[in-house]
């Protein structure tokens, strides 16, 4: 029997579903709409999109972020309650993607926000997104 800390116990209690707040620029949302639709249907894994960052556990960021929008993304992140997770989707958030030489987009998201997990792909497959969320559950279960 593993002796768990109070934090781990609380986390195991509260993590039944992942509530998501989307912060998508450009094609980000268009490419991840299948996640919500009936074929891949993220709600069967307890993932649901909420209307305000104050209710969200996970922040999805996709698409290239401009200098203007990253300031807003930071504000969204600050509003989220602990424990919070940032998942960056797609190649634009990792390296700038096809905007690697653009003067007004940011290149690496982790220079600006503490990214928990990157999901590569342009766009990432829905299965990859599910696997990332599965890893959040695993991480909580491994907490001691």
């Amino acid at each position: 029997m593993v002796k768990r800390s109070e934090k781990a116990k609380t986390m195991r209690k509260i993590i039944k579903a992942i509530w998501i707040f989307n912060w998508f620029n450009s094609c980000g949302f268009a490419e991840l709409v299948p996640l919500v639709g009936s074929r891949w249907d993220m709600e069967r894994f307890g993932m649901i999109i909420v209307g305000t960052p104050r209710h969200a556990d996970v922040l999805f960021i996709a698409g290239y972020q401009t200098h203007k929008s990253i300031e807003r993304a930071k504000r969204v992140y600050e509003q989220m309650a602990e424990p919070r997770v940032v998942i960056a989707l797609g190649s634009c958030t990792m390296t700038g993607g096809m905007y690697w030489d653009s003067y007004n987009t940011i290149k690496k998201l982790d220079d600006y926000l503490p990214v928990t997990m990157y999901i590569p792909g342009c766009p990432p497959r829905p299965e990859a997104v599910f696997e990332a969320c599965e890893k959040i559950f695993e991480h909580v279960k491994e907490l001691e």
Partner: protein, 167 residues
């Protein structure tokens, strides 16, 4: 070719003594010097050209010029008049048309001030439109090298994994 275009062109040519031609149906191009701009624009507004569709800048690097293009539309005559004027690209100053078209012109002038660095004399509110905390030169000038700017700004040449951006 339609009659109304040539008639209007004749009218404006005799009034201001300028060059111009009928481009095609419902399109007139006129070229003017920048000191005549306000005078002509006022006259155009009084003659039904209430809609300023766009102001655009073309950067002619070799000639050392900015070409400013004003697109004016008349709902009565159904003609799109394009006014072209050239200014020095190193000292891009021109009179603002905000007293004539007001808010209609404001957004275009703000944009061009930000992207090309054109100063519109008489426009008090040339705050940046798209860019925030921008410290570089006007980004749409042809002599501004985006790639060099990005390398200085975002990448580290000593970082082995970022070498690919310097090849």
């Amino acid at each position: 070719m339609d009659k109304k275009e040539s008639e209007f062109l004749k009218k404006i040519k005799t009034k201001f003594k300028i060059d111009g031609k009928v481009q095609r149906d419902r399109r007139i191009w006129i070229s003017i010097t920048d000191d005549k701009l306000i005078e002509i624009c006022k006259w155009m507004k009084e003659n039904g050209f209430v809609h300023l569709s766009a102001i655009s800048v073309t950067d002619w690097l070799k000639d050392g010029n900015y070409e400013l293009t004003y697109h004016l539309w008349s709902y009565d005559d159904k003609i799109l008049v394009t006014i072209k004027t050239r200014i020095n690209r190193n000292k891009p100053n021109i009179e603002s048309v905000t007293p004539i078209w007001e808010k209609n012109a404001q957004i275009h002038e703000r944009e061009l001030h930000e992207l090309f660095g054109v100063n519109f004399n008489g426009n008090e509110d040339l705050v940046p439109l798209f860019l925030e905390n921008w410290k570089g030169p006007a980004p749409f000038r042809k002599d501004f090298d985006w790639r060099d700017f990005v390398r200085d700004e975002f990448y580290d040449k000593k970082n082995e994994r970022e070498q690919v951006y310097y090849d």
